[in-house]
């Protein structure tokens, strides 16, 4: 991906319109810088995307360059849940509970076709949730089957940019699904 393409992000422009005074924006900048460079993911993988997520964490691609190296085994210590794989109807309540147990602010990356929309293979069945956004609110969608580690890194970088635009004057509202 070219540098120019990465810079072009309409949502980013939209977010930047939010107002704030000088003191607040300075504090925000420091806090957001710190938070966006230390996102701890939850160890949560339901299928083959999990293997690719591990590859992203391993030395060749190295998640840790972006500060998200520490996979937490407990949702209470995690900032982001990377939903890597198919979520079935029986898994959905578990996923919802994990998400609820994470402390705010919390983020969700839907990784791969299954988490985005139910997947290329199993969507037309009795047991698959067609997109994890039916269960928990998603911040970044990373398509692919499974996505390359570069794609996941790109998704992570998008999430970081999203975090960098947050402000203390307008705290992030975790949207509740109807």
């Amino acid at each position: 991906m070219k540098e120019a393409d990465f810079r072009d992000n309409e949502t980013l422009e939209l977010f930047k319109k939010s107002g704030g005074n000088i003191l607040m924006t300075t504090i925000d900048a420091i806090i957001d810088w710190g938070r966006s460079n230390s996102i701890w993911p939850l160890t949560f993988a339901t299928s083959c995307c999990g293997i690719e997520m591990m590859a992203t964490g391993a030395s060749r691609h190295d998640f840790a360059r972006f500060g998200i190296e520490v996979y937490r085994a407990s949702p209470r210590q995690a900032d982001v849940i990377v939903v890597a794989g198919t979520v079935v109807n029986k898994m959905a309540p578990v996923l919802k509970r994990l998400y609820d147990q994470m402390s705010d602010p919390k983020y969700v990356i839907a990784m791969g076709a299954c988490a985005v929309s139910g997947g290329p293979f199993f969507y037309n069945t009795y047991h698959v949730v067609r997109g994890v956004d039916h269960v928990i609110p998603v911040d970044v969608y990373v398509p692919g089957c499974p996505p390359r580690p570069e794609a996941l890194l790109y998704g992570v970088m998008q999430l970081q940019r999203k975090i960098r635009l947050e402000s203390m004057s307008k705290p992030r509202q975790t949207e509740e699904l109807k």
Binding site: K90, N124, T125
Partner: protein, 152 residues
């Protein structure tokens, strides 16, 4: 025991068994009534000693339902596949083998859950994966789910 000898041995035990040609494993179709007795002799007789049931599968072939048993002897290193068929889709039942190979207990619960084949004398024939109140058996060819499945 090699496959030729094993074939003669099985046909000696169950003359009605139907041998299936050109398969990866030595394969027989066994009449349902004979299955349990055959399984017991396969396990107990010293020259056969099939002590390991490594797979038990249910298949819906539309005309009939089938249960497939993959067996191995860990001492003699020979393998065998047995198939049992039932044409009754509503109340099709096969004798359980979980009193012979304990591992069959969960396998049979899974087959019952997803294919709806009943196993007589099974100690605890409940659904394994799906909820208790689930209607139907979703891996059957004629399963209808109007909410989740789009017919193409």
């Amino acid at each position: 025991m090699d496959n030729a000898a094993l074939k003669e041995r099985i046909l000696g035990l169950v003359p009605e068994a139907e041998f299936v040609e050109n398969k990866q494993f030595l394969t027989f179709i066994i009449p349902p009534a004979k299955m349990h007795d055959l399984a017991r002799s396969l396990k107990s007789e010293a020259d056969l000693a099939f002590d390991y049931l490594f797979c038990l599968t249910g298949v819906d072939m539309v005309k009939y339902l089938e249960v497939v048993y993959h067996l191995e002897s860990t001492s003699h290193r020979h393998m065998l596949v047995l198939k049992v068929r039932t044409t009754d889709r509503e109340n099709g039942a096969v004798d359980t083998v979980c009193d012979i190979w304990r591992t069959a207990e969960f396998h049979e619960r899974e087959v019952y859950d997803l294919m709806g084949i009943r196993f007589t004398n099974h100690p605890d024939l409940r659904r394994l994966f799906l909820e208790e109140g689930w209607k139907g058996h979703p891996l059957r060819k004629d399963y209808v789910d109007e909410v989740n499945i789009v017919e193409l």
